[in-house]
């Protein structure tokens, strides 16, 4: 009897260790699979100096936003494969799971900073994460390019070495507000502000722009930990035209949209870019995104097909990561001086401001301004059709 108990407890403990180990490996320092992919894709040396180095990709690989994070990681892998093939380089990826959590991102940043083989970073994905990693990356002298952090304050000088290939909420807010006020003709808008750096930033940007346009705005703040929204939906007045949601997890936006239908409210849901996901699929709803649907861009056709063939469908969070990864690798390439050398962090950081990706897959050239923001970027607006697919309307 006791033997059976001991065996059972030992088995349970062993399973626990295995499970923890397996769950932890997604955020571990191994990049075996990625290195194997990139090594197998490398071409014979070209005339350009052969460069090598490790690029960390910080993304929510697990957690509520994992579908976005996995897409971002896969586009980064594709970018590395394509760049290595075209340039004879040997860059590889270090996967860093942040779960879209500032605390987790900070822990990962410490690990990245202490690994001298990492010459640059793609990410983090969320604005609150960028704020959390800023001091560590500043001390480490490492350059990092985000493909989805949109809070305008991130490039006010408090995060040296930070760049982004997407526009800020200072662009998203007025773009969305203009569409809501002008095209949709809304007079009464409720803004559900999720209490995160991202939510606060976009809520403020949209609210200010709507108020300036003469629209009545009511704000309802909610905690990030909230799971049910029926009580919040009951606060939405019957004459509300639009409910603007600022969630980073699209399933929450879908919950609110369905809740409004259930409550018989006429308000239409408009999600900020955090809602852009297959999980937000209520017909008639709107969502904005910082990148276009690249399936309609000729310059992106090859990349789109390659990604679809290898990884399946994608949304709008992945393609900017491809561009961000290109920016880091191009900076590393310029910093390389001899064949087989690895551009160091200082070299990459020095070259990042000189980024110039002509005809990027996002439909334009990518250059950074003095603050680290991308020149001339804009937001796109999509409407969800009866099939639950987001279709570009602006």
């Amino acid at each position: 009897m006791k033997k059976h108990v001991a065996l059972g407890v030992s088995s349970l403990a062993a399973l626990a260790l295995m499970a923890t180990g397996c769950a932890g490996s997604s955020s571990s320092s191994t990049s075996t699979e990625a290195a194997a992919d990139t090594a197998s894709a490398s071409a014979p040396a070209s005339a350009a100096p052969e460069c090598a180095g490790t690029i960390a990709v910080m993304a929510p690989l697990t957690g509520g936003a994992a579908s976005i994070g996995q897409e971002q990681l896969n586009f980064a892998k594709l970018a590395v494969d394509d760049f290595n093939m075209a340039n004879g380089s040997m860059y590889k990826i270090f996967e860093s799971d942040t779960q879209l959590d500032a605390g987790q991102a900070s822990t990962q940043a410490t690990a990245i900073a202490s690994d001298n083989t990492i010459i640059g970073v793609v990410g983090p994905a969320g604005s609150q994460e960028v704020s959390a990693v800023g001091p560590t990356f500043k001390d480490a002298g490492i350059g990092y390019v985000s493909a989805s952090a949109t809070n305008p304050d991130l490039t006010n000088g408090s995060n040296p070495g930070f760049f982004r290939v997407v526009p800020t909420d200072a662009v998203q807010g007025p773009t969305d507000a203009d569409y809501i006020a002008t095209t949709m003709g809304a007079k009464n808008v409720v803004v559900i502000e999720e209490k995160t750096d991202y939510g606060k930033g976009i809520a403020m940007s949209v609210s200010d722009a709507l108020t300036a346009a003469g629209v009545k705005v009511t704000s309802i703040p909610v905690a990030e930990s909230k799971k049910s929204y029926d009580d919040v939906i009951a606060k939405v007045a019957d004459d509300t035209d639009v409910v603007f949601v600022t969630f980073q997890v699209a399933a929450k936006s879908q919950q609110v949209a369905q809740g409004l239908v259930k409550a018989g409210k006429k308000a239409v849901v408009f999600g900020s870019d955090g809602s852009f996901s297959a999980d937000f699929k209520t017909p008639g709803a709107y969502v904005s995104a910082f990148a276009p649907d690249i399936n309609g861009i000729p310059a992106a056709a090859t990349v789109a097909k390659a990604f679809t063939d290898k990884y399946g469908k994608f949304g709008t969070f992945g393609p900017p990561v491809y561009v961000a990864t290109q920016a880091v690798m191009q900076a590393a390439q310029r910093a390389c001086t001899t064949a087989g050398a690895s551009a160091d962090r200082a070299g990459v950081l020095k070259e990042l401001p000189n980024t110039n990706i002509a005809g990027s897959i996002l439909g334009g050239d990518i250059k950074f301004d003095a603050k680290g923001d991308v020149d001339g970027a804009k937001f796109y607006i999509f409407k969800i059709d009866d099939a639950g697919t987001a279709v570009t309307v602006q």
Partner: protein, 305 residues
């Protein structure tokens, strides 16, 4: 007035889910004087079991069975699966520690909680699931009372929660198993001497408590709450709070605590600030315990002298 009634209904619905989770906590504590900190994760697994039963049957939009039968099967599988999970947890993680210090099983429970979260992540991936119950339970269906519309899923949650409480009360107070549970709760050694199989009684206790958590998981899914590996953390905390508020060890207390907690949250959202709902709910718990440490319906603890 209609706004107040709408929020009251919302609170009762939230409270139904909390009450079912609280019942599990209170049942186990009442029999074993042990806090099963992994109970929230059993609720989480129940929600997943219900989700995958639905998708296996072709749901949410193309079920091969009539909708009522599909929902019934979701509950059966979730409750059965959760019960087996609870029994397994008791057998391997708690029973060997029953005679050890009070701290050892608590630490074991924390470990089980983390283990189940990791297991769910590995088995089901990190993607957030939604039951999309609006596709098989029309939000337009239901009843309207004093101008407040209550849809079918919401009715199911409240009626189901009350029904399960009544069944549980009947089981504990009117059956031999219930008599055995109460005997074990008073004095395990005396129960053994009276011919009661303590191990078997504990197994039944965990099975029933976990089945209730599984039912709560399916109900929350039908209410369109998201399902992922972390939902058990806060739900478990709320359920525990409800159990303590009502009087840990008291079945009517657990129900009362659950509904009170849900209504408090809804009213705070309605008339104050939604971000304060959790803060005030736990604050009220502290106040109640300071004034009445055994909870609203708890009985004074009997200590053998």
């Amino acid at each position: 007035m209609q706004y107040f009634l709408t929020q009251l209904v919302n609170g009762v619905i939230f409270g139904g889910v909390y009450a079912l989770i609280a019942l599990g906590y209170t049942l186990i504590y009442g029999v074993l004087q042990f806090l099963n900190l992994a109970h929230g994760e059993v609720y989480m697994m129940g929600a997943f079991f219900g989700f995958f039963t639905m998708t296996t049957l072709g749901g949410p939009s193309m079920s091969v069975l009539p909708v009522p039968l599909m929902i019934l099967l979701m509950f059966v599988v979730a409750m059965g699966g959760s019960a087996l999970l609870g029994i397994g947890i008791e057998r391997f993680a708690y029973r060997p520690l029953r005679r050890s210090s009070r701290l050892a099983p608590l630490i074991s429970a924390l470990g089980v909680s983390l283990f189940l979260q990791s297991a769910a992540l590995l088995l089901f991936s990190s993607r957030v699931r939604l039951y999309d119950s609006n596709l098989f339970l029309s939000v337009k269906s239901g009843i309207t009372v004093f101008g407040v519309h209550i849809d079918t899923a919401e009715i199911m949650v409240v009626v189901g929660a009350v029904l399960l409480m009544v069944i549980l009360w009947f089981l504990v107070n009117r059956t031999n198993l219930g008599r055995a549970m109460r005997a074990v709760a008073v004095d395990q050694d005396a129960a053994v001497m009276n011919g009661i199989d303590v191990d078997r009684t504990v197994v039944w206790t965990f099975g029933i408590a976990s089945a209730l958590a599984g039912a709560a998981g399916v109900m929350s899914g039908l209410l369109m709450y998201p399902v992922d590996q972390y939902i058990g953390v806060f739900a478990g905390l709320k359920g525990f709070t409800a159990a303590v508020l009502g009087g840990i060890g008291s079945i009517p207390g657990a129900m009362l605590g659950g509904f009170l907690l849900g209504i408090t949250e809804a009213m705070v959202t309605a008339y104050l600030n939604p971000t304060y709902s959790d803060f005030l709910a736990f604050f009220i718990l502290v106040i109640v315990l300071l004034v009445r440490p055994r909870g609203l319906l708890g009985r004074p603890a009997l200590v053998k002298v």
